[in-house]
């Protein structure tokens, strides 16, 4: 049951081979057994989950079931869910019971999915290892001494360890794709604006995008059918016709032109990762694809540009956490300024404070043009590189991450080393393009390697097709860690 696809689970539920309550209980039991070691979930609420499962069973009985009705889905703890504690991985929100539903949560509720729990994450989504969570690091189910990646590390670990059928993530600079790669699962970051950001706690508003994480491209397509869609409460939400993301899954790949950016295969890429990627490309050739060498000359600047723009937006987005209307307030203070400074100093962790400091600095008087404005201009150059590249190819492929999962604590106190692990994913967010990661083998220490697939704007259905055809031909995506 834990290895079934969403199609299979939906079928079993509608055929009444299993009830949603039974399925939810099975998952809850598995979580009870494995989560203490993996720390993939921050908050469980079996009462609400089972109530939703009962409703789903009633809906199935009445014959009104949708594709995901009754299926237990985990939610990254960045999405506000009414009645659920929503922490964003931070002490600042350790006691925040959300009074409202994010658009994405409402979409799942409407589809009849069961909210299985809130998954662990780097604090305010700032991190690439899940070590910045106030609720402790998540362990990689393939090797518990290693990180699951971040920031959607709890989701990635939960999916890999079969602690949920599928789950949500968010991706600001690689936070869906990198943990998906490090945990050996599939993850999709849609085109910016495809999934509403309403109720998704903001990190860097112009880059944040929600997306699904699951065990196969086929599962992701079903998840996208629920998550995507226009929302009038988000000014950046795109007004587009509803689409079926599964519609192209079975198309053959003959004639597909795959662009390989030379910058993604240069110095810094682990040789074990390179080997796995090359093998995946060879497989695509077998499936009928042709290879085009391309260049994204400005992509090397994406890390510096990102570490100006994202902290700048974050420094402002996180100003609302001031201990006045909700969230953490320091127990002792002398006056208003002291209350602000202590509440924020105690409520935020080190990485969050670091990024607030960077962002505040680059926006402050005298530095704006040199940092923020310059970064926004280079952002355009980076986006233009992709526009050029898509004149020659249909999708771009490369590694998701330069290495497989590193050890907990390994990158310890050097933020710059940590930041560089997002080198292949960030440019996609800067351009607003869709990107995904699928498992394509194993590297040193038998840790999973992720293949990154970058599509043109709104090409999600095609990317899912490209990933699905590979998953029909290979079985990397169905390998499971021996967690017990």
């Amino acid at each position: 049951m834990f290895n079934s696809s969403l199609y299979q689970l939906g079928g079993a539920l509608r055929a009444k081979k299993i009830s949603s309550v039974e399925l939810t209980q099975l998952y809850l039991e598995r979580i009870t057994a494995l989560n203490p070691e993996l720390n993939a979930y921050i908050t469980l609420n079996p009462e609400i989950s089972l109530a939703q499962a009962r409703e789903a069973d009633a809906r199935i009985a009445s014959g009104n079931a949708a594709a995901l009705t009754g299926i237990p889905v985990a939610q990254k703890d960045i999405f506000c869910a009414k009645g659920w504690r929503t922490t964003c991985g931070s002490k600042m929100l350790h006691n925040f019971i959300s009074p409202y539903d994010a658009h994405v949560i409402a979409q799942f509720n409407q589809a009849g999915a069961v909210n299985l729990g809130k998954t662990n994450m780097d604090e305010f989504a700032m991190g690439s290892s899940n070590e910045t969570s106030y609720f402790g690091p998540v362990k990689n189910p393939w090797d518990k001494a290693r990180v699951p990646g971040g920031s959607s590390g709890g989701t990635a670990a939960a999916v890999a360890a079969r602690l949920c059928a599928a789950a949500t993530g968010t991706d600001t600079g690689g936070s869906i794709r990198q943990p998906a790669a490090l945990c050996g699962i599939s993850g999709l970051k849609p085109t910016y604006g495809v999934c509403s950001r309403y109720g998704m706690i903001a990190f860097a508003s112009s880059l944040d995008q929600a997306g699904p994480m699951g065990r196969s491209a086929e599962d992701l397509a079903l998840m996208m059918n629920v998550m995507a869609g226009f929302d009038e409460r988000d000014s950046t939400s795109l007004q587009r016709d509803k689409e079926d993301y599964a519609r192209n899954l079975s198309k053959p790949l003959h004639g597909l032109r795959i662009g390989l950016p030379k910058e993604f295969f240069a110095e810094g890429l682990g040789s074990d990762v390179a080997l796995a990627i090359e093998a995946a490309i060879a497989e695509y050739k077998k499936l009928g694809a042709t290879i085009v060498d391309i260049s994204l000359p400005n992509s090397k600047l994406s890390v510096p540009v990102y570490y100006v723009l994202a902290p700048a937006e974050a420094s402002s987005n996180l100003s609302r956490f001031d201990g006045v209307r909700y969230g953490y307030r320091a127990p002792e203070y002398t006056d208003l300024a002291d209350m602000y400074e202590k509440s924020r100093a105690q409520g935020f962790g080190a990485e969050v404070k670091r990024r607030i400091m960077i962002g505040t600095y680059v926006l402050s008087h005298g530095y704006y043009d040199a940092y923020y404005l310059q970064a926004q201009k280079i952002r355009r150059l980076i986006a233009q590189d992709f526009t050029e590249a898509y004149k020659q190819c249909d999708v771009i492929m490369g590694p998701t991450s330069p290495s497989t999962a590193f050890k907990l604590g390994e990158k310890g106190d050097d933020p710059v080393q940590m930041y560089l692990s997002d080198i292949y994913t960030i440019a996609v967010n800067l351009a607003g393009l869709p990107g995904m990661s699928i498992p394509c083998g194993f590297g040193d220490n038998n840790m999973p390697v992720g293949l990154q697939i970058i599509g043109n704007y709104f090409d999600e259905a095609r990317m899912l097709n490209v990933a699905h055809q590979y998953q029909l031909a290979t079985d990397w995506h169905s390998r499971a860690p021996q967690v017990l």
Binding site: S235, S319, R325
Partner: protein, 493 residues
Amino acid sequence: MTWEIVIGLEVHTQLSTNTKIFSGASTAYGAESNTQADAVSIALPGVLPVLNKGAVERAIKFGLAVGAHIAPRSVFARKNYFYPDLPKGYQISQFDLPVVGPGALTILVEPLSGNAKPYEKVVRITRAHLEEDAGKSVHGDSQGVTGVDLNRAGTPLLEIVSEPDMCSASEAVAYAKALHSLVRWIGICDGNMQEGSFRCDVNVSVRRPGEPLGTRREIKNLNSFKFMQQAIDYEVQWQIDTIENGGKIHQATVLFNPDTGETRAMRSKEDAHDYRYFPDPDLLPLDISEKWKEQIRATLPELPQAKRGRYIGEFALNEYDANILTSSREMADFFDAAVDCLPSQPKLIANWIMGEISALLARDKLEIGNCPVSAVWLAGLLTRVSDNTINVKTAKEILDGAWGRNQLFAKLIQAQASIDAEIESKGLKQVSDSGAIEKIVDEIIAANADKVAEYRSGKDKLFGFFVGLAMKASKGKANPAQLNDILKKKLAG
């Protein structure tokens, strides 16, 4: 040695929308604390702003009314600072790309001093931009704490910034008044100063003639024209005294204390001037098409200045009358509605509005907007004055009587019927039958032979005495002009 005064204004007008600028929460004034503070107003994690069309329309309306450039693309920016009444830790405002660009407003300045004559002046408007209002801090009973009410947070504001074109408190007040009248005239702001719908920040500096601009101090949040006058007068004198005593002016934000009539600097915020503006990533650029702009232009009422010109040119009113009649939209609407019903008599109507009607309004502390008789009714009454059915004295009596009974007719035909019925039933028609008037005059002459003799021997002043007697005898209904003629003729003998 003389001093030049340099004044510029920043006026925050609350736009008269139903909802907040970035959410669907009500902006109604006076609700219980925080009951109109929705998820966006209290800045819950994850909530997002969506721009209110009504706020943009009002901004465009203002821009068109002051002949300003409407930016085809403007941008919302975040102004970052911490304050308890600012829930997001930033205010969404517009910075380098405001919706309204340079424009101008012509004002009429009435100097305070002696017999100086009113004069017109053009004040340049630098820009006007949309932004959100903050909440309110409430200082309650509890010691050491401040309460925060976020009902007002997110109310749309149009901040209108002038050039430093004013050089006296009178000019500043005249500008503020003209702006106040204009925003109400075009219906974008209720102008209620007690409720904070129209708040003025005044930048004041002084300099010796010919010297560069002095350092300015900003008087914050003035919410009455009287306070503005007092605050500027005090501030100017304070700055002059400070410099003349060898001191220096430091840039500062000051508050006016109406109890003492003094201004004092606010406790300076150490980092107040690093707002870290940047474009709000949650909001896209605001595009205003030529078509939309023209649609809004078509809804603009005739503006006060144009109306004033038309009253003088078309109706031959004098400048003073034209100014009074265009001092508010309600006043002009009243006048226009009456003229529409009685197009031949604009001067008569103007006289009545500025005379009888204004006097009665003043007596009862009413505004023209809630005048107990409608403009249409007044036109109906004056129709009967102008066609000599009744005389002025009778008309005044009818008005006095009608005042207490709320004559709010919207249609002339009904108002006219009601007035005519009253004239008919009470027999108020003026007597224009020369035979009847002659009879009255003959009787008076006969009964007052001694006075007639005095009159005929040169005591002209007695004419009024005879008019009074004749009027009284006609029960006030005699046609005054006719009566005069007949009296004159008969007294001449």
